[in-house]
């Protein structure tokens, strides 16, 4: 071992204790975040908005605008754009609402017919199912349970109204991230002793890099999902392959649950638009299963998992752990939370086990103590 190596203390890397702590803290955070989703969701949206608006703000600062002015300008322009888009889209949405309601009913009916046909086909092959009147029972229960579309719209509308104030926090938070992000980082840096300063700065940069990489990974994953699914649907001849691909890829942001919703959507479209060809719906299901397998075991580890520098096995296992600990919110949050906790945990482990850094910190403290008591 060289002198410099012995001087710089030990650096054993992340051991099992550090990793066990990382996983335990991730689970604890997911459990807590589940309780304050009203704050976590706008915080995440604000982060996405921050990474989206950061480049134009930097451009304005470069052209001589103050940081405050640039942050206010980009947020104002963004909100203005959203308001204009909302005003422009609203009349069109109102005009087509009735059509969409009919279309939705048509697709739901198509799905029910497909289910009915499939169950009756099963009854033909298995007399036990026919004796149990499986097709009639399931169909009547679904018809009774599904009710009218208006019954479902009401809770959705109430949910949107309840979440609206919380979601309006997102641009507000994004503005302060843009305006005061650097100050906050500097504030955190100032609170750290000199001996750990470089390591801590590195840690803050890694967290920033990890968050950025996660959101960029998510965008890449969405593009890959869209292309694969749209290509498959186009080959099958299902109408609107690109639109369906985009919707399903966005729904897949919620692992597993979003995928199931996306799959149902594709099957409904296939069953309704091809009522005389039930095979089409089965092909759509097969395609969707293949895309989901590709997504969960290849695309996600390659994009989000790779961007967070996580082992593919850890990525998949942690998604299951997240779902078990905190349900749907756990599925959505597990990877970004794990990424950030991993960086903090690994860096803290390195600092705490570095004997030289700890010795330098003790020396600095003794110097400060001596200075404080010099004239006593």
């Amino acid at each position: 071992m060289s002198d410099s190596e012995s001087i710089n203390g030990t650096n054993p890397g992340s051991g099992p204790i550090v990793w066990a702590t990382i996983i335990a803290v991730t689970c604890l955070l997911l459990f807590l975040f589940q309780k304050i989703l009203w704050l976590v969701v706008p915080f995440l949206l604000a982060l996405i908005l921050y990474y989206f608006l950061c480049p134009p703000m930097q451009a304005l600062i470069y052209r001589g605008m103050s940081r405050e002015g640039a942050a206010s300008t980009v947020i104002t322009v963004f909100l203005g754009f959203v308001a204009v888009a909302g005003v422009a889209v609203m009349p069109w949405v109102a005009a087509h609402l009735a059509d969409w309601q009919d279309m939705l009913n048509r697709y739901i009916q198509g799905g029910m017919q497909l289910l009915n046909r499939s169950l009756r086909a099963l009854e033909v092959h298995w007399p036990t199912l026919a004796n149990a009147h499986l097709a009639d029972t399931v169909t009547s229960r679904l018809e009774h349970g599904s009710g009218s579309l208006i019954d479902h719209l009401e809770p959705i509308a109430i949910g949107i109204m309840a979440w609206a104030p919380s979601l309006m926090l997102a641009p507000f938070l994004a503005f302060f991230f843009l305006r005061d992000g650097r100050t906050f980082k500097r504030f955190l840096g100032n609170a750290v002793p000199n001996a750990f300063f470089e390591r801590t700065l590195f840690l803050l940069h890694e967290i920033d890099r990890t968050s950025r990489a996660y959101f960029q990974g998510l965008i890449k994953l969405t593009v890959l999902d869209t292309i694969t699914l749209a290509a498959g649907l186009w080959v099958l001849g299902i109408p609107g392959p690109l639109a369906l691909g985009v919707i399903c890829a966005v729904l897949a942001w919620v692992p597993y649950v979003g995928s199931i919703l996306g799959g149902l959507l594709v099957v409904l479209v296939a069953a309704t638009d091809f009522p005389d060809a039930p095979g089409m719906a089965y092909w759509a299901v097969a395609l969707f299963v293949v895309v989901r397998l590709l997504d969960d075991f290849l695309y996600m580890p390659l994009t989000i998992g790779k961007s967070l520098e996580l082992h593919p096995l850890v990525t998949v296992l942690m998604i299951f752990v997240g779902g078990a600990v905190a349900g749907i919110s756990g599925l959505m949050l597990v990877l970004p939370v794990l990424g950030v906790v991993m960086v903090i945990g690994e860096t803290t482990g390195i600092i705490v086990t570095d004997a030289r850094l700890m010795a330098r910190h003790r020396q600095a403290r003794s110097l400060r103590k001596a200075l404080a008591s010099v004239d006593l």
């Binding site: 060289s2 002198d3 410099s4 190596e5 001087i7 710089n8 480049p55 930097q58 600062i61 470069y62 052209r63 001589g64 605008m65 103050s66 940081r67 002015g69 300008t73 650097r182 500097r186 840096g189 100032n190 000199n194 001996a195 300063f197 470089e198 390591r199 700065l201 590195f202 940069h205 890099r209 030289r356 330098r360 020396q363 600095a364 110097l367 400060r368 200075l371």
Partner: protein, 159 residues
Amino acid sequence: MVSLFRPKKTTPRLERLRNLSLFVNLTPPELRIVDGLLHERDYLAGEVIFDEGEEGQAIYIVASGEVLICRQGQGEIGAVAHLSAGTFFGELALLDNSPRSAQARAATASQLIVFFRDDFVGLLDTHARIASKISRELARHLGARMRDMALAYGAHQHL
């Protein structure tokens, strides 16, 4: 609206930054951007800033006080250089993450400005013009140091 883009008056802090050799060619708007990336640290006399062999993450600029660059643990006996206000050290950390080649200690109570490598790399992506101006000053500094070393080596040979 147009007034928003008018050149703004420079502040004493920006003037102080502009007097530092590394940022001497930057305009006030460029200095404002760089200022947002800098950190200030206070060190007491005798406090270690970094050790020889440590992985370098940042360049240090002496804002006030004096810094001793020396062989690891040798203090004044192993002194390589004494740096005063306006100069900088640890500059190779901006280029790669190679180990520090010497130890740095505050010779007197000092205030240092710290410029982190990842911020510099980010600047190369977002503000290549600013990064190129800083790089040029860095290259000049390294060139001058190489000349000094060559001269010292030549003088030694001559002796």
